[in-house]
């Protein structure tokens, strides 16, 4: 168990560095879509919500699990869709040109 905790910390640090490198040079034009896209990715907590709902042992756990699934799904689906809607509007030239 302690070993897997260390592995998790290791992964967390490496992934953070990748995150820093990926985002560092993004042009300001994309900051809002980037943020809402990243926000949708943080909805990955949906996977955790599914896991706890599956093993739930009491009513309280089931309620918390179901609420987590609903909220995380709103985050994921809404986040990706609204990001796509925004990015659709970005164009290089006027459409009437």
């Amino acid at each position: 168990m302690e070993n897997s905790a260390l592995l998790y910390i290791y992964l967390f640090i490496l992934a953070s560095f990748i995150g820093f490198e990926l985002i560092n040079k993004v042009p300001p034009t994309l900051h809002t879509p980037l943020m809402s896209g990243a926000n949708a990715i943080s909805g990955i907590t949906l996977v955790g919500a599914i896991l706890i709902l599956d093993q739930s042992s009491s009513d309280l756990n089931s309620i918390l699990g179901l609420a987590a699934v609903v909220l995380a799904t709103v985050n994921v689906v809404g986040g990706f869709m609204v990001t796509d809607r925004m990015l659709q509007m970005f164009r290089q030239t006027n459409k009437n040109e």
């Binding site: 168990m1 905790a5 992964l11 967390f12 640090i13 992934a15 953070s16 990748i18 995150g19 820093f20 985002i23 560092n24 042009p27 034009t29 900051h31 809002t32 980037l34 943020m35 809402s36 896209g37 990243a38 926000n39 949708a40 990715i41 943080s42 909805g43 990955i44 907590t45 949906l46 996977v47 955790g48 919500a49 599914i50 896991l51 706890i52 599956d54 009491s58 756990n61 918390l64 699990g65 179901l66 987590a68 699934v69 609903v70 909220l71 709103v74 985050n75 994921v76 689906v77 809404g78 986040g79 990706f80 609204v82 796509d84 925004m86 509007m89 970005f90 164009r91 030239t93 006027n94």
Partner: protein, 471 residues
């Protein structure tokens, strides 16, 4: 062969690796305007892979319940994403942030009750620490995002709400909350203590965002975005799931970078945003307050300014927060189309903190069909102001104040600004001479080459367009 793969549980780790790679590629592609849409699509595929893998891996007894939850969430999410106005994007992101944070907190809280009902000696301390981290970060994200939502939606007052002894109260609250967590980790899983810990965590989120004003919202939203990623990562530690940790860490880092970009654009530190209010002491505000309105300004008439614009060959438009408030982005696009037809070259100068969240102004102008190739960043545009005939400032203030560049005594000295004052002619469209968020006077308004047009942005630009058409 496939049978054994399933038996060995290899399918799940391999799918998770694939999902991780897709998340990273997606984030990378999100970094360029040409590929961003593809990047978003890749990230959503990554999410789908991760969720389906989890559903298949756990031959679930509660599959129906899970699918019901996913269906409800999808419908709500899709409706919100379709209905939202682009001006309301910061609120929506704040709300989604809060939902993600709450979901992560619920996971941690649910696991607390799962473990505390079991035999305590079997709980690894790493799990208990993860539960505390997941709860506190998730709950702060939730309550903080809800306050941010309220402020952005104008349900709560936008001005900073500073309670007496705010900073000391916050500090004590942080210490008490942390001691409760340490008691739970080190001594005993006492449910009453845990519930108190939950309440205090929620309170911390409120106290974190409440004192922060509208102008600082881009910083707060970025910070909360980072927290929602960290909360997901903490939930990953709780349930022992690698994909949560990796994706959560990616988002945490991305949010932190944006926070840093925003604070740099305001020339402030994150501590200053959270613990201080802008403009420094009350004295300096009182001093500048006296002088406002006493210095002479040149007022312009619509027809004269329309004439000036009609003959200009190079024009830079500087949109600010006020433009977003007046929702005049479509009118701005119309007038620039008009001027372009007359042969003028139009550029837009976008300060990093224009709008209410990072990059917000770019989205608003994109919605009004302004091509992003005409939008210029601070560094790109500042050299060209000296060769610009007319600069039009609409609803921007502090980010054009030359004092930030020239006067070391100014409270905003050092903040990167747009060098609007270097243009041959400057037109400022503004409701009044009232100071911006920094609470200080703007020398630009009194400069020789500046003409003020006192009006609502939308009305003024519509009238200008009409006058140009008639001329």
């Amino acid at each position: 062969m496939i049978e054994t793969l399933f038996d060995n549980d290899l399918i799940t780790p391999i799918s998770y690796i694939g999902s991780t790679v897709l998340f990273i590629l997606g984030l990378k592609l999100l970094g360029s305007p040409v590929t961003a849409r593809k990047g978003n699509l890749l990230a959503s595929v990554a999410m789908l892979v991760a969720v389906l893998t989890t559903l298949i891996d756990k031959t679930s007894i509660s599959l129906n319940l899970i699918l019901t939850g996913v269906l409800i969430g999808s419908v709500i999410g899709a409706i919100l994403a379709r209905m939202v106005k682009m001006t309301a994007m910061p609120q929506l992101v704040a709300a989604f942030n809060g939902f993600g944070g709450a979901a992560s907190a619920f996971i941690a809280i649910s696991q607390y009750f799962y473990y505390s009902s079991a035999d305590e000696s079997t709980i690894p301390i790493t799990i208990v620490i993860s539960i505390m981290l997941g709860s506190i970060i998730g709950l702060i994200t939730f309550s903080g995002s809800m306050i941010a939502f309220g402020k952005l939606q104008d349900i709560l007052p936008g001005q900073p709400i500073k309670l007496p002894f705010q900073n000391s109260v916050s500090t004590i609250l942080v210490l008490v909350t942390l001691s409760l967590a340490m008691y739970l980790v080190g001594v005993d899983l006492d449910t009453n203590i845990f519930i108190l810990f939950i309440i205090l965590s929620l309170l911390l989120g409120i106290l974190l965002v409440n004192p922060i004003g509208g102008a600082d919202m881009p910083v707060v939203i970025s910070l909360l975005n980072s927290y929602s990623g960290l909360a997901a990562a903490a939930a990953g530690f709780v349930v022992g799931n690698i994909i949560l940790i990796v994706a959560g860490a990616l988002v945490g880092a991305a949010g932190l970078i944006l926070t840093q970009i925003m604070t740099r654009a305001m020339h402030r530190s994150i501590w200053n945003v959270i613990f201080g209010t802008f403009g420094g002491s009350a004295d300096s505000q009182a001093n500048t307050g006296d002088s406002i309105g006493e210095r002479p300004v040149r007022r312009g008439e619509v027809d004269d300014i329309a004439m000036m614009l009609s003959y200009a060959k190079t024009i830079v438009i500087v949109p600010g927060y006020g433009l977003a408030v007046a929702q005049a982005q479509h009118q701005i696009r119309e007038i620039s189309d008009l001027l372009e037809k007359r042969g003028a070259e139009i550029k837009y100068a976008i300060h990093p903190v224009a709008g209410r969240m990072p990059g917000h102004m770019n989205v608003l102008l994109a919605e009004a069909d302004v091509p992003y190739t005409k939008l210029y960043d601070l560094d790109e545009i500042n050299e060209s102001f000296s060769s610009t005939e007319v600069a039009i400032v609409v609803g921007a203030n502090d980010v054009t104040n030359p004092a930030a560049r020239d006067e070391p005594t100014s409270p905003i000295y050092g903040m990167p600004i747009l060098n609007v004052d270097q243009a041959k002619q400057v037109v400022v469209i503004k409701r009044s001479l009232s100071p911006g968020f920094a609470g200080i006077d703007n020398d630009l308004f009194y400069a020789q080459n500046t003409t003020m047009l006192f009006a609502d942005a939308k009305v003024a630009i519509t009238e200008l367009s009409r006058a140009i058409q008639e001329s």
